[in-house]
Symmetry: D2
């Protein structure tokens, strides 16, 4: 498949979210460990998000409902800041488009820049963007624009088939590492 060599993979930077919809508590990558994660970054007024990105997110939410896969939306506004009134307008948008999966509002840059914090940290090029994380929280797909269902499905199938973190005990083709928090013995 298309997966890059896993030895070089780095964990995703933290989610910086101001408000969550469709979830009783805030999400973090840590809370999603053990699941494959499909993060769909979008804007309400982005035609490609409405036509392609969000319908694909909804299809993934339905098709993989019984699998350890989490679909997460991220409203990441970098245009028309002043007119979006994010929270209330997004609540109406989510209601009208019947989006059921958790959706967070990307936190504005406190220094006043136009690009919100998670978008900055992930290095997104625009919306829609699809970021896929494996069960260990590492970025395995980082795509801007329309994503093909067969390709995305194949990556998801591959990642779902990977062993859970517990099973793998941090083994990869470089060797096996001790789990975090476990020391290998006394040091002088």
């Amino acid at each position: 498949m298309h997966s890059p060599h896993t030895a070089k993979l780095r964990p995703a930077p933290p989610l910086e979210v101001d408000h969550w919809f469709n979830t009783p508590q805030a999400l973090s990558w840590e809370s999603l460990r053990g699941k494959v994660v499909a993060l769909h970054a979008f804007q309400m007024l982005c035609p490609g998000c409405v036509a392609h990105g969000l319908p694909q997110a909804t299809r993934m939410y339905e098709v993989f409902a019984k699998d350890p896969l989490a679909v997460v939306g991220l409203h990441t506004v970098f245009e028309h800041h002043d007119v979006m009134q994010p929270r209330a307008a997004l609540a109406a948008f989510i209601h009208e488009y019947r989006l059921r999966f958790p959706i967070g509002i990307d936190r504005p840059d406190p220094s006043g820049g136009p690009v919100p914090l998670t978008m900055q940290a992930l290095g997104l090029r625009g919306t829609p963007s699809l970021i896929v994380l494996d069960k260990r929280g590492r970025i395995r797909l980082h795509q801007f624009g329309r994503s093909d269902d067969l390709k995305v499905g194949a990556l998801v199938g591959e990642l779902l088939a990977e062993p859970d973190e517990d099973e793998s005990a941090d083994c990869d083709d470089q060797g096996c590492r001790l789990p975090e928090g476990i020391s290998a013995g006394a040091r002088p």
Copy 2:
């Protein structure tokens, strides 16, 4: 075709619009006399408007560019009033969706009711709605929901083929009337 008997047709009630986009001056039915008019009523957060109504409006604007047909959008908000901030958000929406035809904001009911004035006067059932007026400003189609391109096209073709008001001199199957403002002779 589907046209009702024209003798009973009534003129459309006045457009009540607070602000216009994509036109240097306010539109009225009077200013559009002599043209067939396709009025597309929509809301930004209405999925059926974004998926069907507005793309059809854009197709009509392009296909009938050389014909005496005016495509007019009407943003007629009856839901989520508080979150829409109409003017600036609609400007961004129009920009992102590349809508080129004139679009007006339906005037809110001054008595505070949820349904704006033009929507009330036209008796619209919701959005998207398509209202088609003939060259004399009379309502010839009043449809809620998705409209079929072949049907809409056929009505437009029929109405475009009707004589202009001047040519017809107010003739219909009831007889011919003098044009307004012309007297038929001396009165005592």
Copy 3:
């Protein structure tokens, strides 16, 4: 609209058909006088016909069911002659695709050329092609490739609104002619 000036219009050349489906008796332009006619030329193995031309023919057949409009299919094979076994294969095709409108098999050129006779006479450039005739049997649209529903609908609406032959008594913008078979000459 798109209609050419009607004074120069010529009648369509005769239909040359070997076998008809979905009709108890052979069709001719004469038998369709008084109706607008949409002639859809196609081949079974033509992808554009299956994807666009025939679905549009079916939509027209349904949308204009109550109007004086006839949808007619013409299977006009100019490729893969030897493998098509026209009549039986076409019967199966019509059955599987649930085509309900009359369909004729264009008559092969008796001189052995690859282009069948009606296709030759109409000067078709390929399939799918859409030919639209007015109520008087004159060609008003002659289009190769995909046809837009709004455009086709508008032409149909215009032609349906034209007076019937009887009403018009052969009048056009050049004047009125005597019906065929009636002489204006001196009588004894």
Copy 4:
């Protein structure tokens, strides 16, 4: 994922094919060992095959071009036998629809029954059907009708991620077996 427990999986029954297109030599499951196989069963005159099954086969052929995945078509006629003239008509169909992957003609039942041999052996319910085999030639999906791209993609991704036969040395959750041809017996 959706994969059944692999211990009970059985190998696919042999392909019974009369003639192959788009391949210099006949295919068999044996010749495809080590590859995931997507077998698309279709008929030329089956609307669902033309609209959904074959376009999906083409997308799979393109999307997984660099992966060890083989897309195979099987023309499996159980209707309109007499009118299909399989070989020449199918050649024309393959040419017109620009199908590039190997396609075989399912062998007619020599006893004269309507269902050809591979279709019988696979127990297909109709067309389109999609059969997916893993790298070891075992059936992992057996679906009649339209298949969802995300679901199919996920299965393919999972199967591509499975170890090759050589690597696995016939190990499954029941234990490990010696490769074929290798005896465990005493040696002099």
